[in-house]
Symmetry: C2
Subunit: 325 residues, 2 copies
């Protein structure tokens, strides 16, 4: 199966690596809205201009979209679903129903499949929530993120006057994790679940107290959390905070038995050196499933909820039953 | 959807509770090979003789088989798949391909679906191994069981002369769990991964040293493990070891990046007060999926690898996307 990548940033590098390493896939094209001559990719995959896509529909079985959820994907996924079977990582949870509907209309008209909101959250975490709630219908869900870098929160700090650079870590509170695991189904507030650690490089002569105040009082991003701010040098940030680690934990505790007499806990967790490379690897496996579902004659929008897990694997159904069941 | 249960033991009690509590299912019949008059069930579900099944095919949408894997299910699942869409929990891993093939032939001929090997291992653990290996193709899998009661090992101890009763706990070794999580992909022997704790009630005047020797040297069951034997009274066993708790952990560690430069860990774990009631709850969710897949016109054998996760949930696709994605 021939795979294309639309947009080339961190996530695309992750997809590029995963597709290149998969024996059953070939990465045939990377498309960019920049001048292709200015884009250096990690493999010898040819880089094309975005406008070349339309003439290459017969060369690409699945297009993996690697744009951002704020402005790129809401437009691009429905547009590209008119040309290709597509996979995206749209992660604005509140807008998923609308995005699904837009992609569904485009894909049905074109006879393609569009699998949206793939990755780990939404994605593998969503699936963990679904399996756990199907097995334990009477229960409560908890999702914790981190310890990991939130790029959105890091960007928000960088927009404060006097800030040269910043990295923000989301950190689950150990006591909240234990409470969620305990089976007591506690109500946990935003502040109880996560803390936020900010490592900030200030510009020469900046007012550090004002920067710290601007961070910890920022609505939506920080004001509902216990936030710590540590000023460091650019060198220290480059040396110790260059990576994009992330991860998290989904916990569901619930009851079984006619009288709810048994308590059970289901837990799914990820610890990732690189958020974009792991997400890219998940997207590559979903591209495989999208190809197979389209080969079966399916059309329209889907999420990972709709993918039989076997379709994600390069192994045959027989191999899976013999070795992983 | 109308559900039947074939066979009435611990697992069936779990299915009975889960189906009874589900708003979209009705438990219409429990079938037994014993005299139905001698079987007392936990709900007001009518109990029928096994031989009544054949005349009740129009009253039951899905039959959940609750027999054992050693001798019951290899015969019963193919037989009953000729009459009903069926779900079983066949858990003899090595024989799954043969069982699948037998059920597939019967179900295809009858136009039914047979979903085999459902529960948590095989079942949710298998699915965790599959998602993790699809996301991290370059990696290693580890499965740990416990702390929990192994009924097979408890039974094996009870067959030793001089033993009145026994309960065996399988216990994962904490250092092995940490090694598996570390990302170093260690080779772990059977002895390194689990220990076995045996609580034994001896008959009056029995030779305790001989019983202990018979346990720790028993091939397949105990000789490859570090096993501890503790003799207790029947009263203490009844008071402290009456339950059937279980659980375990699936860990996959692997690498992403073109040069395998990033290390990631995926972990899925269960902590269960009651193994049969949780397994029964999973089987009830699979019965829902089996019904929906059969309604779609599918026939033949399946495993949980083939079920789109959305089909397990009583929630609609729209609700799932809005609330769990």
């Amino acid at each position: 199966m021939n795979v294309g990548i639309a947009g080339y940033g961190n996530l695309a590098r992750g997809v590029e690596a995963a597709v290149t390493k998969a024996d059953d896939m070939k990465l045939v094209a990377i498309f960019t809205r920049r001048d292709p001559a200015t884009v250096t990719v990690a493999t010898d995959t040819p880089v094309y201009s975005w406008d070349d896509m339309e003439s290459m529909t017969d060369q690409i079985d699945v297009m993996v979209l690697c744009g951002g959820s704020a402005t790129d994907l809401p437009e691009q996924t429905p547009q590209l679903a008119k040309l290709f079977t597509v996979v995206d990582s749209f992660d604005t949870h509140a807008h998923i129903p609308q995005h699904f509907s837009n992609v569904d209309a485009a894909a049905r008209e074109a006879g393609t499949i569009g699998i949206i909101s793939c990755g780990w959250d939404p994605g593998l975490f969503s699936i963990a929530r679904l399996y756990a709630s199907a097995a334990l219908p009477n229960g409560a869900d908890y999702t914790f993120w981190g310890r990991g870098v939130s790029q959105g929160h890091s960007d928000a700090i960088r927009r404060i006057p006097g800030v040269a650079d910043a990295r923000q870590y989301t950190v689950p509170v150990p006591e909240a994790l234990e409470a969620a695991r305990s089976g007591s189904n506690p109500e946990l507030t935003t502040r109880q679940k996560h803390t936020r650690e900010c490592f900030v490089v200030a510009e020469e002569g900046a007012d550090l107290a004002a920067i710290e105040e601007a961070i910890v009082t920022m609505p939506n991003y920080f004001s509902d959390y216990d936030t710590t701010v540590t000023f460091i040098s650019q060198e220290e940030l480059n040396a110790n905070h260059a990576g994009l680690p992330h991860g998290g934990t989904v916990i569901r505790s619930g009851k079984t038995g006619l009288d709810d007499e048994f308590a059970d806990t289901v837990e799914f967790s990820l610890t990732l050196d690189s958020n974009p490379f792991f997400t890219g690897s998940v997207l590559a496996s979903v591209a495989r499933a999208a190809y197979r579902m389209h080969q079966e004659g399916q059309v329209g929008a889907r999420t990972m909820f709709d993918i039989p897990p076997a379709l994600l694997s390069p192994l045959s159904a027989e191999e899976l039953r013999a070795h992983l069941m």
